[in-house]
Symmetry: C2
Subunit: 125 residues, 2 copies
DNA sequence: CATGCAGTACGATTCAAGTCGTACTACATA
DNA sequence: TATGTAGTACGACTTGAATCGTACTGCATG
């Protein structure tokens, strides 16, 4: 509690269950819908993102700069949000960066085999 | 076989490789694209159609009336066309009816496991 | 404190998709 | 030949997605 700094309303003093930042808003496992996941994965850029995470992530989260995608930042925000809202990726805020990883366990539990298809995907010639 | 009915301009005298009508235009197996298939399967009505074909078709083609979908005919045309153009279904013209079936072998060859996900899908509560 | 950096927020534009009504074709059959 | 049937074709409308520029926030570091 700050002594009496008139404006400051104690931003995030909730006890954290782990040392990781809280994930951004996302559907719970049981809320995952095949049609939404399919919709998220019907875009080549998003397939590229998810595949790269699956094949090269080495179990780390990655900021959207890591992907080396040649698109304006606001476009990337749009696509990463689409993936998160469909439940394909989880995003956490690490200071300045918002890092993503694929919800592998959740997706394998609900849609077994789906991620294998994404990993095997190759962009159009 | 009519003997010599004056007007008849012999509509389909091409030699048929089998006794089935020719399929309507569709992508070849090697042209199937995951993003297009995903896009076709990102719609609940189309998931309903494909799942019903997978679970209840008994290896027969089915006209679009068979599905009992409560939508205008022109909407159904739209969705069956979307499925066919993505390569999910094959359509053949049987006289008046245009019957559909899922391209099970092609899809299993290119995207193994995908149809299992569709078969396990259930519409939103 | 000024600059740079990672990313969001907002708004504009463009384009595709879903939805449907109406009109039409082609065939079957009463 | 008139009616019904299974479906397409076309056009209109509406909604959502993709695209991007610009402005902004919050933090780090010179």
């Amino acid at each position: 509690m700050p002594t009496t700094t008139a404006h400051a309303p104690a931003f995030k003093v909730l006890p954290e269950p782990s040392d990781l930042p809280e994930p951004l808003a996302e559907p719970a496992v049981e809320e995952l819908r095949l049609e939404h996941v399919m919709g998220a994965l019907s875009d080549p850029l998003r397939l590229t993102i998810v595949r790269k995470l699956l094949l090269e992530s080495e179990d780390f989260d990655h900021s959207c700069g890591w992907f080396g995608l040649d698109r304006p930042k606001s476009s990337l925000t749009h696509h990463f949000k689409a993936l998160r809202e469909a439940g394909v990726t989880r995003q956490r805020q690490y200071g300045l960066e918002r890092r993503s990883h694929v919800r592998v366990d959740d997706l394998n539990a609900r849609f077994p085999g789906l991620l294998d298809l994404v990993a095997a995907w190759t962009p159009q010639a």
